[in-house]
């Protein structure tokens, strides 16, 4: 652990358990191409774990996707795992390739989804750039939030065991 206080993020009125996650449409990137897709396209198929992560190339993006790839919850449970960052589709394709992962990633360079979800993080030292706070939402097939985690520090990482428990209890 570091021997100083990590940066605390201000309180935010974010999407929480019991709420309905706002639907959105953004380019959804897989290992071969990207096309516009809606969150509800995914939830129509079943529960979705929606993972907001810092821009591709930042180390938390690598850490989070290595972890999710290795845990591979979708092998054992009926859940679709999908990410979202402000990175463009080309960067997402690189990340998917480098992490050797099967998960698809939404691209939201203008950060509008984070605004809707109440998780905007204005980046210090990068003028005009904001991205989502690290956050994880487990949604059922009606887009009802079953579990929510939103970073309260910067940086901050999800509690993976807690997420697995939430998926298990769906």
């Amino acid at each position: 652990m570091v021997e100083f206080d990590v940066v605390e993020l201000p309180e935010t009125d974010h999407l929480a358990a019991g709420d309905t996650a706002p639907d959105f449409t953004r380019p959804l990137v897989n290992d071969e191409y990207w096309e516009d897709a809606s969150l509800s396209d995914l939830t129509d198929e079943g529960p979705v774990l929606l993972v907001f992560f810092p821009m591709d190339g930042a180390f938390p993006a690598t850490y989070v996707w290595n972890e999710l790839r290795d845990r591979a919850w979708d092998d054992d449970y009926d859940v679709r795992i999908v990410g979202l960052s402000i990175s463009d589709p080309y960067a997402h394709k690189r990340l998917i390739e480098e992490r050797e992962m099967d998960y698809r990633l939404f691209s939201d360079p203008q950060n509008g989804v984070a605004e809707e979800y109440g998780i905007v993080h204005d980046l210090d030292g990068m003028a005009g750039v904001s991205e989502p706070r690290p956050a994880v939402f487990l949604l059922d097939d009606d887009r009802t939030v079953e579990y929510a985690w939103v970073a309260s520090e910067w940086p901050d990482f999800p509690d993976y065991d807690e997420i697995r428990a939430a998926i298990e209890s769906l």
Partner: protein
């Protein structure tokens, strides 16, 4: 366009800023056709999805579920769209 993939019957494989692809876009708009864009990468070697559907890696390529037609090369596609959705079809009295 933000239609759901399964609402569109034409899937359009394209490359950002490719003039041949934009030529097809113009034609799709002209006939007010609903389509789902799938963007691929500039590197030909990264376009296996296009090869799988059309047999070659070139874009533009379309898959039209209305007719079961898969086609590449903008000249061919434009001609196909004219023939299938253009005025000639109307004159032919098809529905």
């Amino acid at each position: 366009m933000s239609q759901r993939a399964d609402d569109s019957t034409i899937t359009f494989y394209r490359l950002q800023a490719c003039p041949f692809c934009e030529r097809v876009v113009r034609k799709l708009h002209e006939y007010d056709l609903d389509y789902q864009s799938r963007f691929v990468e500039p590197m030909h070697s990264d376009r296996n999805v296009v090869k799988r559907i059309s047999g070659k890696r070139s874009v533009p390529a379309i898959v039209d579920e209305n007719t079961g037609v898969t086609m590449s090369e903008s000249g061919n596609i434009v001609e196909y769209l004219d023939r299938t959705y253009g005025n000639e079809r109307a004159r032919g009295g098809a529905n």
